[in-house]
């Protein structure tokens, strides 16, 4: 009886919630098609792709200066890639270590988790102070990079821990006791089981680093990464080219997500095919 009223009410509420989540991005996407003489608000004077051309440097330069996305985009992607490799390797190693019980595992666990808890502005400040004191230069590929790993490594670690928790160790032991070399065992037994986790850890690391901003602000030095370039435009007046950028960068992230989905699907279907052969 009550559930008959409650269920539709909650369903309606959830719909409103999704509108609340998506509303601003939808408005932003609409306004990115503003015409050349329109501002970053309603009304839309005329539909055009002028601001996309402006963003990509295809339009003649106008009163609005171009967003500095070119080089900063490359820096952000390289940085995200470096972060992904290191934090995934560290995450897999640490999670593997946690499969054995050892003294001090509690504090070690919390030390790693702290990396995702500590606010970026704090570690960023600390790193800037440290590099000042040690007289080291600040650069996105150095001081920013190590902080990005501090942030993404705990995520990779947690994902891998969840995978290893469900991982029956005896399968590995069986392979080893049947005389298969440890390297072969890793390649043929361990890796296929942990691969979905590795892929998820990589996705997390890449997107978190690509978008990371607070940890980069004080540590990047002179060359800007993409989020810093965007942040720089906040203090001055904003124009619809920022909205066009928002749409494009969102599409980029979704492409990554789709690639991840496809890889995952391909892998899981392959795994189930093996299973089918075993049954036969």
């Amino acid at each position: 009886m009550e559930s008959r009223i409650l269920r539709p009410t909650l369903a309606l509420y959830t719909a409103c919630f999704l509108l609340f989540l998506y509303g601003p991005m939808i408005v932003l996407a609409i306004l990115s098609f503003q015409s050349i003489d329109g501002g970053p608000q309603f009304p839309i004077r005329d539909w055009s792709i002028y601001w996309y051309e402006h963003l990509l440097g295809l339009a003649e330069t106008s009163r609005v200066s171009q967003l500095p996305v070119g080089e900063s985009l490359i820096r952000s992607i390289v940085l995200a890639f470096m972060t992904t490799v290191v934090s995934t390797v560290l995450g897999v190693m640490s999670a593997e270590a946690f499969r054995t019980k050892f003294k001090g595992s509690g504090p070690a666990f919390y030390l790693i988790i702290l990396g995702m808890m500590v606010p970026g502005v704090l570690v960023g400040l600390g790193m800037a102070l440290l590099s000042n004191t040690l007289d080291l230069g600040r650069a996105w590929w150095g001081t920013s990079f190590v902080l990005h790993v501090v942030y993404t490594y705990p995520f990779a670690f947690l994902v891998m821990l969840a995978i290893f928790n469900r991982f029956d160790r005896t399968v590995e032991e069986a392979s080893l006791s049947l005389g298969v070399s440890p390297a072969q065992t890793f390649r043929r037994v361990t890796f296929p089981i942990i691969f979905p986790g590795v892929l998820s850890a990589m996705l997390f690391s890449f997107t978190l680093s690509y978008d990371e901003f607070a940890r980069t602000l004080f540590t990047a030095g002179r060359d800007l990464t993409l989020p810093l370039a965007i942040y720089g435009t906040f203090s001055v007046e904003i124009y619809p080219n920022l909205f066009a950028f928002g749409v494009l960068t969102t599409l980029f992230s979704f492409t990554l997500l789709v690639i991840y989905g496809l890889l995952m699907k391909r892998f899981t279907s392959k795994a189930s095919r093996y299973k089918g052969q075993e049954d036969a």
């Binding site: 559930s3 269920r7 909650l10 369903a11 509420y13 959830t14 999704l18 609340f20 989540l21 509303g23 601003p24 991005m25 408005v27 932003l28 306004l31 501002g39 970053p40 608000q41 995450g91 270590a97 946690f98 499969r99 054995t100 509690g106 070690a108 030390l111 790693i112 988790i113 702290l114 990396g115 808890m117 500590v118 606010p119 970026g120 502005v121 704090l122 570690v123 400040l125 600390g126 800037a128 102070l129 440290l130 004191t133 190590v146 902080l147 501090v150 490594y153 947690l158 821990l161 978008d211 901003f213 965007i230 920022l242 950028f245 928002g246 960068t249 969102t250 992230s253 979704f254 997500l257």
Partner: protein
């Protein structure tokens, strides 16, 4: 001498099992060492540095390592800084409450009322997708939404509900609260949905068969079992909101100054020692909040 030999005697493993255990432990530690070293050098050390520099001497454009408490005295006697602490705490508390209030019913619907696994996953993914767009873009997206010529004002004027645009919507504390609630709500919905999804439906059915109303079922079964999720979500939201500065910087029109904003502006004017003091104060607040939350739930057990 003799004590030493007995010691080594005890330490020598006897059985193969003991030998293997020792080998495993050594392997675990060597696997863990690189990660822990990384965390020590690039997280613990910088944080220690923040504490250390907060006691340095600040001159107009530089700091030197003569120890003093002058920066602390300056900070604690300044109305601007003290009000930043108060603003940070107030915004944190309001956002925390609003994310629970806004997020809980959604989690309740997805975790408990949607039985279809595919639909459940689809709804969760729909909640997580905005997280995949750039954080700064999500913040800036509230400007065309809330501005005087923004979507909300345009719609309300078209509908004839208001005749003048509402000006309190943007560049106010309100816009900061709305923006933060939207951005951080997902971190509340996720953990609560997870906990609610683990509830055995037969328990609720049994209660209903025994004549309990939904109110009673919610109060006696659903709420207590979902509480760890609320607390995990609260930890996520708290940590992120307390360390915030970008949302306040871009949506408040400089009306809201959080501790994070103080740090950024002090670094901008090379007042490293003052920034460090603000950093230590922020660390103390966050540590207190997490410690409180961890007393209520064991994070490692819930994962």
């Amino acid at each position: 001498m003799s004590a030493l030999s007995t010691d080594t005697h005890f330490a020598t493993p006897h059985s193969p099992a003991e030998l293997r255990e020792k080998k495993d432990r050594r392997r675990a530690i060597s696997l863990l060492t690189p990660g822990l070293l990384w965390m020590f050098f690039f997280m613990v050390l910088p944080m220690a540095m923040v504490i250390y520099v907060s006691f340095w001497t600040q001159t107009t454009f530089s700091v030197n390592s003569t120890l003093t408490t002058a920066s602390w005295k300056h900070f604690l006697s300044s109305a601007t800084y003290l009000s930043a602490i108060w603003t940070t705490l107030r915004i944190w508390l309001i956002v925390l409450i609003s994310t629970v209030v806004v997020g809980y019913p959604v989690a309740l619907f997805i975790g408990l009322f949607v039985r279809n696994k595919t639909l459940q996953t689809a709804l969760l993914v729909a909640c997580v997708i905005p997280f995949w767009t750039s954080f700064l873009i999500r913040v800036i997206a509230w400007r065309p939404m809330l501005g005087t010529e923004g979507a909300i004002n345009v719609i309300l004027m078209k509908l004839g509900i208001i005749s003048e645009p509402l000006t309190f919507l943007l560049f106010s504390e309100f816009s900061v609260l709305v923006g933060m609630t939207q951005i951080y709500c997902v971190f509340m919905v996720g953990p609560i949905t997870f906990m609610l999804g683990r509830i055995d439906i037969s328990v609720i059915e049994a209660a209903r068969d025994l004549g309990a109303s939904f109110g009673t079922i919610f109060r006696r079964i659903i709420l207590p079992l979902s509480l760890p999720g609320v607390i995990v979500g609260a930890i996520f939201v708290s940590v992120m909101v307390l360390g915030e500065f970008a949302t306040a910087a871009s949506l408040s029109g400089r009306k809201v100054n959080l501790l994070g904003n103080i740090i950024v502006s002090q670094v901008g004017s090379l007042k490293w020692a003052f920034a460090a003091v603000a950093g230590v104060v922020l660390t103390i607040i966050i540590t207190a909040v997490i410690a409180l939350a961890l007393r209520l739930v064991d994070l490692r057990k819930e994962m």
